[in-house]
Structure formats: C-alpha cells, structure tokens
Amino acid sequence: MSESKWQMMGPLARAGAPKGPGSENPKQGQRMTGAQAVVASLEAEGVEIVFGYPGGHAIQMYDALYDSQVIRHVLARHEQGAVHEADGYARATGDVGVVMVTSGPGATNTVTGIATAYMDSVPLVVVSGQVPRAVIGTDSFQESDIVGITMPVVKHSYLLKSVDDVARTFREAFHIAKTGRPGPVLIDVPSDLAQEEVVFEYPDEVSIPSYKPTYRGNARQVRAAAALIAQAKRPILYAGGGIVSSGASELALKFMRDLGIPSVTTLMAKGAIPTHEPLNLGPVGMHGSKYANRALNESDLIIACGARFSDRVTGKVESFAPRAAVIHIDIDPAEIGKVREAQVPIVGDLSIVLGALIEEVESSGSVPDTRAWVDEVFAWRRELPVLDPRALEVPGQIVPEVALAQLSGMLDPERSIVTTEVGQNQMWAVQFIDREVPRTFLSSGGLGTMGFGFPAAIGAALAFPDDQVVCIAGDGSFQMNSQEMATAAVNGAAVKVVVLDNRALGMVRQWQKLFYDKRYSATELEDNPDFVKLAQAYSWGAERVTDPDEVQGALERMLASEGPYLVDLRISRDQAVFPMVAPGGELGDELAAGDCRADEWERAKSESDGAAIAGLFDDDGDGDEL
C-alpha cells in the first residue's frame, strides 16, 4: 500500500481530470432526471463511496443512488459525521470525498465539517438538496441558504438553476476541489430540478477562464532560491501539509538528504517526512520539541514548503526566527507573505518546484556546507529530549505518552492510519506516534475540530479496509460524534478507538491550571458515560484499563480484534502536554521543566511555583485520583 500511497497523488490530480470514465461513462447520451444525472455525474468522476444522510429534498437523489451499481452509500448518524468521514477518506486517499445531504438542517449540520476541510485544504464535494426553485427565498419548510451560510468556508459553491447545468457543474466542482490548493466545493440542488429531464452529457474538460492555478514556479525565483540555499549556513526545511497535498514527500526527502538540510514538521505534515529520517527533527511549534523549535528559530534560512506560519507554529511573530531569510513555496499566493515576509516567494506546486530547485542547486555546483549546523541540531536533540525520562515514570498510573509510544511500536507504519481528536490527546499523538508515510496521520489542524478524529477514522477505514485504523481520542471529543459508532459497526469499519480518558476537557483544563489559577470552570467531566458499555451497546468490543501493566495486553487485543474496538485508558486528570510555548509566547521559550537537561530540570523545579511540573506529577496536592 505504501507504494500506491506514494503514487496516488501527482500529475493526475493536478490536471484535475475525472478519476472515473468521464465522458466514456455508460450512461452518456441517455435521457434521465436531474437526480439521476447527479448520480451519473458522480459515477463519471469515479466516485466509489458517498457519505450522507437523506431527507425530503434529497429523496430523489437518494432514489437514483439506490440504482447505482458502482457507488456505495454510507449512512452516517449525523451529517457532521458524514462530512468528517468523507474528509478522512479524502485525506487518506488523496481523492475527493463526497457527501450527500438534505436541505435545511441536513445542510446546516455539514457546516463544521466543511469548515474543517477548508482550513486543512481537503478536497470535498458536498451535494445538498434544496427546496424547489420557485419557493427559494420564502422561508419554506426546511429551507436554508446553505450557499450563503458556507460562503466563507468553501473553495467554491453552486446553486443549480437549470437541469442542463448538472453535468458541467459537477465536472467543475471536482476539478476545483482537487486542483490548486484543494478545498471543499458545495453544490445545492433544488428538488424540482432533480425531477426534470435532461440528456446526460458528461464533459471531460472544464473551461473556467477565471480559475488557473499556477503549478510551475517562476524560473528566476527558483534560481534566486538556489542562490540563497547555496550561501546558507543554517538552513531548515519547514514542512507543511502542502507537501502531502502535492505528493512531494519523496522530493522533500531527496532535497533534505542531497543538500544536508534538516526539517521540522507542522501538524499537517506529520508523516510527510518520515519520523525515522535522522534529518527530520519532527513536530515544531506550541507543543514541538525544544530542539525542533530551537532549530527553526535559530536558522538563517527557512525553506517553507506548503506551510503557512500559523500562530501555533511561530508563537510571537515579532520575535520568530529573527535571523532567518525565507524562501516560501506554496500553491496559494495568498499564503506567501501573509504572516512572514518572504525574500524569495515561489508560487507553484511543490512536486514541480522542489524538483526544479534540487536541479538548480546541484547543477550550479554550490551545495551548502551544513555539516556544522547539522551536528549542532543533532546535539540539541541528544541533550534536550522531548520529555525528561523521569516524567514518564509515574508509578501506578497510565502515562499517556508511554501508552502511545507502546501503541506506536505495535503499528506497521505502512499498513496503519492514525487519526486524532483535539486537545491533549492530539498533541501526545503528534509527539509519540511515529509515522513514516504521508496520509497516515489525520488530524484537524486549522480548525481544531473536536469530533473530527473518530468519523475521519471511519472514512479512512472504509478506504483502506485492510489497514489498522486507530483513533486517539479524548473523552470529551469522542462524545462529540460518538453516535458514529453505529456507522462503523453497520458498515464494517473495523476502527480502533483509544480514549485517553482523563474525565476532563484536558487541554482547556491544562490552560486553566497554568494560566487561570486552577479555576477549573466547566472542564471536568465527572459524569461521563461508561464508555465500555456504550461501545458494547453498538456491538463493539471494548475494555477499560486502569493498570499501566495491562496497557500492552489491551492494545494487543484491540489491534487483533476483527471488528471495531474501544479501549478506555484511564489516565490522571493532571497529565499535561509538555513542552509548551505559552500562548503568545516566544518560540524557544518553552514552558515546563520536563524537557530540560538534568541541571535545568532541578533548577526549574526549585524556581517554579510547581505549576509546570505539577502537570507531570500529581504532587500539587489537589488529590486527583484515578
């Protein structure tokens, strides 16, 4: 599968051509209803799976879907779940995820899912039923202006006005969703139009004169970038999700290895550069390692690849990487210079630009000498482990970092996909789950949507039924879409959910602990349901673990189970994520003693009021019990 994953992306996706038969579909030229044309369009695009939920104004499209020989429909239990499922499918495969919902509440329930996909540049086509054209604008039953509501969070959207436009609109929507900077596209289909007849003529080409993404980087800029790289003493590759979207992982790796340039990765780039690549310093930013943050901050040249200098990476922008020049490569010109000025901006697709850049540097013969720099960052990595090992020894307690490292060791990196919810669980997963292959770590980065990870895991599991798909969840996030346990059970998605159960909205509670005087306003979830019984109610396998010695066995049983399985790992409420750059703080100014060398550790312990350290050991006297 790793081979197919590497190949799945690339020139085809860029051209935006239908993945399916396009105009050569067997229904071409037939007379049919608008609803049948919608389904025929999806078939022409090669869509194999649609996630959705029916209703009055989608009933005709669902009727047409009932006849489809090629499209499998997965009935979610909530439209938000359906969108995240399609999103997980899209992130795992690189294909467009497809959603079908009804008008009104069905459509409004998709908004968070669409916004999540938009922020992380995930290609989706969302098809919503709409009230008949004649009553649009009259507040008729189950009418909502979903095109208006979603305008700020879609790449583009359509309200169909004529049945003659169905085929062309679908072709355009798929093209727009997957080319350039990918994103969600919404098509609103009035139900009277779905009834009208049309001769189905699916086009292969699109003609949108106002939409022409730039793929090839400007040659002069590429030369300017090569010249900067040749002179750099402390260059660093700042890898973002664009590397995944463009399928440029292999090129990025070649770039690093050929030129001796270390990398740091954003949340979206987890897996884009293998964890085990020595030159990869891994996660950077608010919960990045001290060594990765230091390397980015002290570099003299940042080569930003499909990354957008998010505040979760830069910390305080004014003091971020003060000595670094910036080469910024992105397919979206609006990202370049938005947060940090770029000395060399290059608009283009990384899978083309990086190749050109490597060629340019190598043909000019002036490869940078980075040996001293690489030695230096490697030394930081040795001296500043992500966490002090002692922080990981808490007798009698399950330590989430340790449990996830255990899990990581049990997963075949080529045959597994890990998704996360949002909060501490997400940050621990970024830190402690190793990923070697792109599209195997799925997490809501830009919007930080609690409730994303679990349905996304279902979407990924349906795309790759032979892979292990594990969702790392928090007890809060899991409850945001736990109804999707039915979807997993009914559709044979053998997802595994590890709930890091701290009976709290842990990440918010951690902030309250560190910055709000331990005033735990609305973050304690003492009245959680019994997750094991809940899972069992959906015919899942499930077990609870409280003893650290039993973690390994439970995870083994989970991974060995045929069907979906939940492990409720009881962890202390006081576990906190470190290192941490305080919000608005400076990169390089990480909070928490836990990541320091022994002497720094001792000093921090004696100097601090204990707040930071308390997160690692429950020695602050609030008597939290398991």
Partner: protein
C-alpha cells in the same frame, strides 16, 4: 502602518451571488468598503465592480490575493497608482425658495449639472464628475441647505488602452 485609499476594479462573472462573494470576502477580513458600484460590461457575461477601500499595504495585499482566489473573479486591477478616470453621479435635493432659486441654478450651471426636478421650494440637481468637483459643488450648495444627497458610488476606468491584470 499607514492606511491608504485604493481604487480596485474587479472584473467578475455576471451571475447571482457574485457580489455577495466579493463583498463578503472583504468585510470578513475586517475592511470597510468606502464606495462600491457594479454594473455589466461590454461583455454581458461579465460585470465590473469598482471598490474603494482604505487599508494598509499588508492588509490590502491580502485582500487582493484573496479576491484573486475567488473562482468568479476574472481580473483585478488596482487603479490607484495608474492614470485613471474616476466618476460618480450625485443627486442633490437643495432648498431653493423662489427668491434664491436663480442662485442655485447658477451654481448648477457652473458645474455643468442638470436640474432634474423642480419643487415649490426645492430643486433636485444631477451632477457627475470627479470627487473634487462634486465636493466643491456640495460645499457651495450647503449654504442653501441640502435636504438630501444620494450617490451612485464611484466608478473608475484606466486611461491605458489595454487592461492589465
């Protein structure tokens, strides 16, 4: 950072919802639109929106880049630093009792404006021109008492023979 007035000429698809996309995008990023006008062009499938915003350089760059990303936007021209012609149409309803009516008419003539409606004690004047001309006229009319003003919003066109994007 210093803010500056920008005159943007945006060529868009002539379809419903397009104006909402353009205006929504600008307001979403926190900018106030000073003036806006929209109408079809020589090509019936395209409309031109003229927008005047006041923004600092960085924010302005972000707006234009984001506008360019909209699928419905064909071309975006910043006329601010170009040689361009800017016009607006204004309707003034001015208090003009019989004894002062001729003075008001004289002012209108001076600015080559038209009297489009005559009431018992007021005149409605239609004027077009550049901002400075219209402002000059408004200042003079103010002495007589302006009861109502309505403006079309500015439209602008580059003096260059070929459009640049």
């Amino acid at each position: 950072m210093s803010e500056m007035k920008h005159v943007l000429s945006v060529l868009v698809e002539n379809r419903s919802g397009v104006l909402a996309r353009v205006v929504g995008l600008i307001s979403r990023r926190g900018f106030n639109i000073d003036s806006l006008s929209v109408g079809p062009t020589e090509n019936p499938s395209r409309s031109r929106i003229t927008i005047i915003v006041v923004a600092d350089d960085e924010s302005y760059e972000q707006i234009t880049k984001q506008l360019n990303k909209l699928v419905v936007v064909h071309k975006l021209q910043d006329l601010t630093n170009d040689s361009y012609i800017e016009r607006e149409l204004v309707l003034f309803k001015v208090s003009a009792p019989p004894e002062r009516r001729s003075e008001v008419i004289e002012i209108a003539n001076l600015f080559r404006a038209n009297i489009v409606d005559v009431g018992a004690s007021e005149l409605t004047i239609e004027a077009t021109g550049s901002q400075s001309k219209l402002q000059g006229m408004e200042d003079l009319l103010a002495a007589y008492g302006i009861k109502e003003i309505t403006r079309t919003g500015k439209i602008a066109i580059s003096r260059n023979s070929k459009e640049r994007s």
